[in-house]
Amino acid sequence: MEFSSSLSLTTITLFLPMVGFTILLFMNEQKDKEAIKWTAFGFSVATFIASLLMAFQFDNNDSGLQLAQRINWLPSLGISYFVGVDGLSMLLVLLSTVIMPIAIFASFNAGVIEERGRVKLYYLFMLLLEWAMIGVFVVQDLIIFYIFWEVTLVPMYFLIGIWGAENRVYAAVKFFLYTMAGSVLMLLALLYVGGQAGTFAVPEIVAQVQSGQLSFPMDGIFSTQSFLFLGFLIAFAIKVPVWPLHSWLPDAHVQAPTAGSVILAGVLLKMGTYGMVRFCLPMFPQASVEWAPIIAALGVIGIIYGAWVSFAQTDIKKLVAYSSVSHLGFVVLGIFSLTSAGIQGATLQMISHGVSTGGLFLLVGMLYERRHTKLMAAYGGIWKVMPLFGGISLVVSLSSMGLPGLNGFVGEFTILLGTLGSDVLGTLFALFATAGVIMAAVYILYMFQKVYMGEVDKAENKNLPDMNWQEVAVMVPILLLIFWIGLQPSAWFDVMDATANALVNQLQPHIEAVKNSGVPTAFHDLMMHIWA
């Protein structure tokens, strides 16, 4: 495959935040405090506009890479700067570029940044983070992917560690070490794959796998392909996080500043699920098929566990954090249903979750700015005091719960459809997952009742001011997306349809092989007995 080495829109989108970063470096913290904020915001908006231009140029009917660019970086080792987007990454790039200006704008008046100072450092890290996130979604070379993947770690670590809540150091270090441990195994696996393929360019590796030119032995669960698959998967599973690797997430979320939580939930977690679709499935098709029931089972456990634990929380932010574990369980289930519907549903759920959970974190942040507590018991009757805030909160909560007509429903519903139509998963998976939908209603409504409904029985809550124009401005794009995805999902599915179908077509022979073979592997056998 030959790709142009001339400047593509993808590169421009990717490096716009870096331009902002460089300009910010030379600004004076004391003198240009306001200018620093607006420069950062301006560049995140510019990045958003660039990504919109990408979306306009994007051809929905093309399942391959678009807007691609390739320049040799280390030709002797087969490493190149190789960027491009397909249906899946296009949507995630848009998600990142939408969430980022919102997060930056929401930080303008955040008390914690005023209090701890170091405004310039904060916005430097925000732009660095945006660069790295977009990088993760657009690069098509394993090594460069790994570079961006690791780089996202650093700014997030500092965002939690410097501007977080009381226990921030513990949470930041835990976040760093957990993710680091996962990704070094991925480095190992990707070096092996690259060495065998003679190139690190993902499309070339996938083409080699498809043509059978490159095949990793897959006979049973202790084979090369299995290990490589797991090397990638564990790194991604920690990021998602898939139960039982989730324990860093509640800490990180609760301690992170509002904007940090929004980005973490909105975009960073999706890097894990995106990685599963982009790397695990096409590069290790047999292992994906063999392992699908097990990973999907972990996803289902995550759905129920997350919902269950959410219900027990007294801290609103922690509740939202655990609900992420539950929602991302759906995404994992959708991906490993290995059906086109499941993968498309999972991708839409990634976007939906980013929007609604991002919105919830913003709302919690607004409450926290007013009352400096995140405990549900400290509130009650908030709707009466802050009617606008209450109304918006209701919409976002319902969207997170999966109410039909709003965004959350579409993704979950499509995932369940995909699960039911799956050749590798049984109906029990769908059944348990549905239980998760009901449980979501329980914990969300419970939270809503505790915080917003009832009488205003605490004196401190009596005179809380309603949302100001900045807070409304932050929520408007979130609400627009909630309704847009909920009411017109086809516009979103159209973008990824071709890509998801191509991916599933590639997996189909292996799915058939497992279905038809008389001797499935031991693990598979076991799972089929249990679940079918």
Partner: protein, 534 residues
């Protein structure tokens, strides 16, 4: 009758950078006598000037691949690269020393001469093509270091440091000589390419098995022990923490990168050029081969290096976790980093045997080139990063040697934002986070080791580097996430130290973003070694 070669035949210009430096140093010793005590900065400036000249003189080496002095000496990309590393490292060391020596009251002009002697020793090591030259270089690089370690003579710790280093170093040299003697006994030569040909047969085609194998194996083991001591590999590392802690900090900084570069240059020369094809169970391995078939076997020393590398990585990283003194932590972490480079050396030992015809086999150490490039780039990255880290530690160090505890880094990002930012970057580079030079080094080494089939060792490598994140990140935590208990100015934060930090930072960043700059220099390394051997 001894055949005396003519001067022209010696081809001395090939060895020019090292010779220039050694001669200059001798002159400097005398010149320094006439420099008044309060103007020793002049000596430092002269030293830096000489190092810059040597750097320029060294540039032609990359394309040369020529031998000198009856093939005892070689200038190729490998040598050029080692020289580049050590000259850069020495320049940073001089910048670090200027103020430190003065404020610690141990400013002597001789320090710079000792440093330059050691540097020329390391440069000869990089160019060694003969076991005798390796030995001479080993001594030339070590003896000045013994003196430098004990330079803070009114401090017992420093004296202990010097004596300890000297005694153990002398032992190591003895090991080396004995090993070299055994190898000479088995092959009848000390010239590395000839040792190679004696083991493998001309053109790498093995005709018969070598009957003197046992002496070769013992000799190789002794050479590994001796050089393992120089690079502080486990279990020959015992001296490291005490010596590093007792020696004046700039000397420690130089030892941790310079002596290490020298030791590894020697080890790589001996292993890649002399002994790569030392396969003991050759007969068993090839017994069932068909003509045209290719198999890979480990060389006799691979398992030993495998174990040493694994032990070094595990031990270095785990002990570093429990350190509270940053200087000591860097000492243990420097042990760990030696482990990663040893991993590359171990990768050299994967030998490919092809049966060409009946009783006719070719043997190739196929991964030698990628392992060599990995090891050298790692050394380069480590030199910049570690010297940078030491520069920051020194800028916090008080005149009495205190001020290097973990808690002394608290809140550094508020007191000295730029220094803290660079320190954070050095720590990330030591972990191996991308966009730093440290990542490139680790990436190349892991890549070479995986291709050479050392997968369990690579797994140990990546897991221990995840462990190392724990203690490196702790420094970042203290600098950025904790508030300062002390507010007094850092005494060591002088302009010269700042220059050193900035040079180190620039190196770490530039080679992290543009690794091709380093790899292009090494592009011909493999071909040059092949020409030497066949």
């Amino acid at each position: 009758m001894i055949d005396v070669p003519s001067f022209a035949e010696l081809n001395l210009e090939v060895a020019l950078p090292g010779i220039f430096l050694a001669l200059f140093t001798t002159v400097l010793l005398i010149v320094d006598l006439f420099i008044p005590k309060d103007r020793k900065i002049t000596t430092a400036h002269l030293t830096i000037g000489a190092l810059v000249v040597a750097f320029v003189l060294n540039l032609p080496a990359f394309n040369a691949g020529e031998t000198a002095m009856n093939e005892m000496f070689i200038a190729d990309a490998f040598a050029g690269f080692v020289n580049m590393i050590v000259i850069t490292g020495a320049i940073i060391t001089v910048l670090l020393s200027v103020d430190y020596m003065k404020r610690s009251g141990i400013e002597h002009g001789e320090f710079y001469s000792l440093l330059l002697f050691s540097v020329s020793g390391i440069m000869f090591m990089g160019s060694a093509n003969d076991l005798i030259v390796v030995f001479i270089a080993l001594e030339l690089l070590s003896i000045p270091l013994y003196v430098m370690a004990a330079l803070r003579h009114d401090d017992v710790k420093s004296e202990e440091s010097g004596i300890k280093y000297f005694i153990l170093g002398a032992f190591a040299s003895a090991f080396f000589v004995y090993g070299a003697a055994l190898i000479y006994g088995a092959t009848g030569t000390t010239n590395l390419p000839e040792i190679f040909r004696a083991i493998a047969g001309a053109d790498g085609i093995v005709a018969t098995e070598n009957s003197a194998m046992i002496y070769l194996v013992i000799g190789a083991a002794m050479v590994i022990v001796a050089l393992g001591f120089k690079v502080a590999a486990v279990p020959f590392h015992m001296w490291t923490p005490d010596v590093y802690e007792g020696a004046p900090t700039p000397v420690t900084a130089f030892m941790s990168v310079g002596a290490k570069a020298g030791g590894f240059a020697g080890l790589l020369r001996v292993m890649i050029i002399g002994l790569p094809l030392l396969v003991v169970n050759f007969g068993d391995a090839v017994e069932t081969m068909a003509i045209g078939e290719t198999i890979t076997v480990p060389s006799a020393w691979q398992t030993a290096l495998w174990l040493i590398a694994a032990a070094t990585m595990i031990f270095g990283n785990f002990i570093a976790i429990s350190q509270t003194n940053v200087k000591r932590m860097l000492a243990y972490s420097s042990i760990a980093h030696a482990g990663y480079i040893l991993m590359a050396v171990a990768a050299v030992g994967t030998v490919q045997i092809t049966k060409v015809a009946e009783n006719d086999y070719t043997m190739v150490a196929v991964y030698a080139e990628s392992a060599l490039n990995g090891a050298l780039v790692y050394l380069l990255a480590y030199t910049f990063t570690n010297l940078g880290a030491f520069a920051v530690v020194m800028s916090l160090e008080n005149n009495d040697g205190s001020g290097t505890m973990l808690d002394d880094f608290n809140g550094l990002s508020k007191r000295h934002p730029l220094t803290a930012a660079m320190m954070a970057f050095f720590m990330l580079s030591l972990i191996g986070v991308p966009t730093t030079a440290g990542f490139i080094g680790k990436f190349l080494i892991f890549d070479a080791a995986i291709q050479a089939g050392l997968i369990p060792l690579t797994i140990i490598g990546v897991l221990t580097s995840a462990v190392s994140a724990y203690y490196y990140v702790r420094i970042i935590v203290n600098m950025y996430l904790k508030d300062a208990a002390v507010t007094d100015e850092a005494v060591g934060l002088t302009p010269y130290v700042n220059y050193a930090t900035i040079v180190a930072f620039a190196g770490t960043l530039i080679f992290g973003l543009f690794p091709m700059l380093a790899l292009d220099l090494l592009a011909s390394s493999g071909a040059q070694i092949a020409t030497l051997l066949f």
